[in-house]
């Protein structure tokens, strides 16, 4: 320990010396990404989008002329790494904000970011992060946590709202049966209580939850239980790889159920991997459009994409676009803070409260209008529901499959949830 202490101070002196020159000229922010860990399948497009967007911002004038010095770190979805990295960012030369990633890092750092007053824009959309004051009483206050998009709970509420209408539209009688499926883990469980409460309110019969692991596996048993339970709507709470195993197994078992995905549980890559089993899964997007969709802001997204793909041919999954939106909100918050007292954590936090129905400039029609207030961090309650359509074999390149229309994302409905006070924080 004595040796490490000595080595530490030596290394520290080096680090301080090296970063000292940078500090004045650029705005420092941190970026936690997962390119190699358990959530890398969705972490890669999201993280790439954040990195691309800030590179694009720097190319186009930065923040009021100041460059953003963003440090992207692949923490491999490991909590200790996230904490160590965070301490590095807050140690000597504090970052102004952090672009975070998943449940692992966001939860581990909630206490620290509140203490150190560093805005943390995560891609974890857990409901408890939306309560900045703790007034809802569901969890401790999370004053410095932000995210763009509907919370996990609100996304499920929207899906259930749609499912209730769908049941009526199909002219079926009796109460539809709803089942929550997922691992016993904070991520799949996050929207469980909210979903089951609303399902009861909407007249669903709520079945006991079905458990399946976060990793891919053989889930025939779960599918047989699903079949015998007679569920009509099943929510898949896990991430894509595990969900694919289930929908494939259920297709084989001949289960007739409408699967409802979650925001990280289904996307173009998952549809490709699942093949025709993925046909018909309804899932929420954080943006009104997918890649190449008709929106005035799509041009900006395509420009940003060229940072890491100069050819402009690569198809970007839904997470990429959500990542661009998140990064652009951060950019405008940094801009406001720079003009109003300097880029400090507290000012960046204040910046998020400045606009109503805020859409980052240049991304009209791509990002849903969002409003954050100091009492309510539910940026948006708009949920765009899509259905995956798979018509044919899905081997080959994703670019071609999307171009040929073998895999299509078809808009189902945009659900506008009411901003109910009793739905805050869970």
């Amino acid at each position: 320990m004595k040796i490490t202490t000595l080595l530490g101070s030596a290394a520290l002196a080096l680090v301080l010396g090296a970063s000292g020159a940078f500090a004045q000229s650029a705005i420092r922010i941190g970026h936690l990404a997962d390119y190699s860990g358990g959530t890398s399948d969705v972490g890669t497009p999201y993280g790439q989008a954040v990195a691309d967007t800030f590179a694009w911002i720097n190319k186009n004038g930065g923040i009021n002329g100041t460059k953003v010095d963003i440090e992207t770190v692949d923490y491999g979805y490991q909590v200790p790494r996230a904490i160590a990295q965070y301490k590095k960012w807050t140690g000597s030369d504090k970052v102004a904000a952090i672009m975070g990633w998943g449940t692992a890092d966001t939860e581990a750092l909630t206490g620290f970011v509140a203490q150190d007053k560093i805005p943390f824009l995560s891609a974890s959309y857990a409901g408890q992060l939306t309560d900045p004051t703790g007034a809802a009483g569901k969890a401790k206050a999370a004053p410095y946590n932000f995210f763009y998009g509907p919370s996990y709970s609100d996304a499920l509420r929207a899906e259930l709202t749609w499912a209730a209408e769908d049941w009526k539209a199909k002219g079926k009688s009796g109460a539809p049966k709803f089942v929550h499926m997922g691992a016993n883990h904070p991520y799949p469980n996050a929207p469980k209580a909210a979903g089951e409460a609303l399902a009861k309110e909407l007249g669903f019969e709520v079945l006991p939850p079905l458990v399946f692991a976060l990793t891919p596996g053989d889930y025939s048993a779960q599918c047989l239980s699903l079949k015998s339970s007679g569920a009509n709507y099943a929510y898949l709470g896990n991430t894509a790889a595990s969900n694919i195993s289930v929908i494939k197994a259920c297709k084989t078992a001949g289960v007739d159920v409408q699967f409802l995905g979650n925001v990280w549980g289904m996307d173009e890559n998952a549809a490709k991997a699942a093949g025709n089993s993925a046909d018909g899964v309804v899932f929420p997007l954080r943006t009104p459009v997918a890649w190449g969709g008709s929106a005035p802001g799509m041009k900006t997204v395509q420009e940003i994409s060229k940072i890491s793909d100069p050819s402009g041919n690569v198809y970007r999954p839904v997470h990429y676009i959500a990542g661009v939106c998140s990064a652009m909100y951060m950019k405008e918050a940094l801009e406001w803070a720079a003009k109003n007292g300097g880029v400090t954590g507290e000012n960046v936090k204040k910046a998020f409260y400045q606009k109503k129905d805020w859409v980052p400039a240049g991304l009209e029609g791509v990002c849903n209008p969002s409003t954050w207030t100091d009492k309510d961090h539910r940026g948006t309650l708009t949920v765009d529901l899509y259905r995956s359509k798979v018509s044919g074999a899905t081997d080959g390149d994703l670019n071609d499959l999307m171009k040929k229309g073998t895999i299509k994302l078809e808009k189902v409905k945009t659900i506008q949830l009411p901003r109910k006070a009793e739905w805050l924080g869970w």
Binding site: T5, N184, P186, N189, W426
Partner: protein, 356 residues
């Protein structure tokens, strides 16, 4: 183990000398100097380094418990992370829901975890080796499932919150202040275990490890000592977990799977089975190795090697592989752990230039 340090002809002529904690005056002075140095560390180190030291301290205490079980008693547990997490949740629960000050919540959760450890240690009375390993593996899964379901206790999908550590109305905030809490616990825990190994119970544990049949013939109650050792291991895991809870202020069961239990095993094995000092070295190694690899990969990024091999994002895979390779190489070339190497280095300098 420390024989290389003791001068030739130095025979122990009294019980007091035989049972001393520190074999030589120098080793005692070194230990004291180490603690004093650590106590001064917050004056010079930044948050990052403080957080590293805190992590070494917290995991070190938990690993110490595992070393009592694995290194001193010869039992095995691959559910240590679950006990660690149990301590964390208990302390969070006691401090935020029951209003128990963190000062008392930490030792209390140590005791609570010890009780749980005793229950899961019961199979140890009957099982040995691989069978015991599987039985303790069950502890890992049972406890994790308990955390997932017992929302009143763990908060379920919402992370549990823990109150900050305070004493006489003074709250320890930030790494620089909390470090002293951890340091105090490290000193007390390591002294406790070193001391325990001199007592009748400690010697009984070692006897159980070395030859359980002989131990039993000598009148040592195997069931009692095997189970006790599980209780001790869980106690220190609980203390470590509680310290972790009041450091982080939130406790989530994310990231406490089997891989974390294996990391605890790695700390003990790398440090040296049956070495108190080695436990701390092993923990420091396991905590700092990923960081060191991170500095390396950060230095590599964008460099010549990166460009010629077109590594880009794959550099993190190289980093993870390197960590694995280093641990394997370590076990091959240093099977007795860091503590053994440390003694060899000391012996080398002691006999310099006449090393053999």
């Amino acid at each position: 183990m420390a024989s290389s340090l003791i001068p030739a002809g130095d025979f122990r002529t009294s019980y007091a000398v035989d049972t001393t904690i520190f074999p030589t005056v120098t080793s005692r002075n070194f230990a004291i100097a180490g603690v004093v140095l650590c106590a001064l560390a917050p004056l010079v180190l930044n948050d990052y380094w403080m957080s590293m030291l805190i992590a070494i301290g917290i995991y070190g205490i938990a690993a110490l418990g595992l070393n009592v079980l694995l290194g001193f008693t010869g039992q095995i547990s691959i559910g240590h992370a679950a006990f660690f997490l149990f301590g964390a949740f208990t302390s969070a629960y006691l401090s935020s829901k029951m209003g128990v000050p963190a000062f008392f919540a930490i030792p209390l959760s140590g005791l609570a975890t010890a009780l749980v450890g005793l229950i899961f240690g019961l199979p140890a009375a009957r099982l040995k080796g691989l069978y015991l390993a599987i039985a303790t593996l069950a502890a890992q899964y049972i406890l994790l499932d308990f955390f997932a379901r017992a929302e009143w206790f763990s908060g379920g999908s919402v992370p549990a919150t823990a109150e900050p550590f305070s004493i006489f109305g003074y709250t320890f905030t930030g790494d620089h202040q909390y470090f002293y809490v951890v340091l105090a616990y490290v000193v007390v825990s390591f002294l406790l275990v070193t001391n325990m190994m001199r007592t009748r119970d400690g010697r009984a544990l070692i006897a159980v490890r070395d030859h359980y049949l002989s131990a039993e013939i000598m009148g040592i109650n195997l069931t009692y000592y095997r189970t006790l050792s599980f209780g001790i291991a869980a106690f220190f895991a609980g203390i470590g977990g509680a310290l972790y809870a009041h450091y982080q202020l939130v406790v989530s069961y994310e990231g406490f799977g089997i891989e974390r239990s294996v990391l605890f095993l790695a700390m003990v094995i790398i440090g040296g089975l049956g070495s108190v000092m080695g436990t701390l070295m092993g923990t420091a190694f396991v905590v700092l190795l990923p960081e060191a690899m991170e500095w390396l990969s950060a230095a590599l990024r964008g460099g010549v090697i990166d460009q010629t091999l077109a590594l880009k994002n794959n550099i993190t895979f190289v980093r993870e592989i390197a960590i694995g390779v280093i641990i394997i190489a370590f076990l091959v070339f240093e099977p007795d752990g860091l503590a053994h190497r440390w003694h060899q280095i000391k012996a080398y300098w002691k006999f310099y230039p006449f090393s053999h």
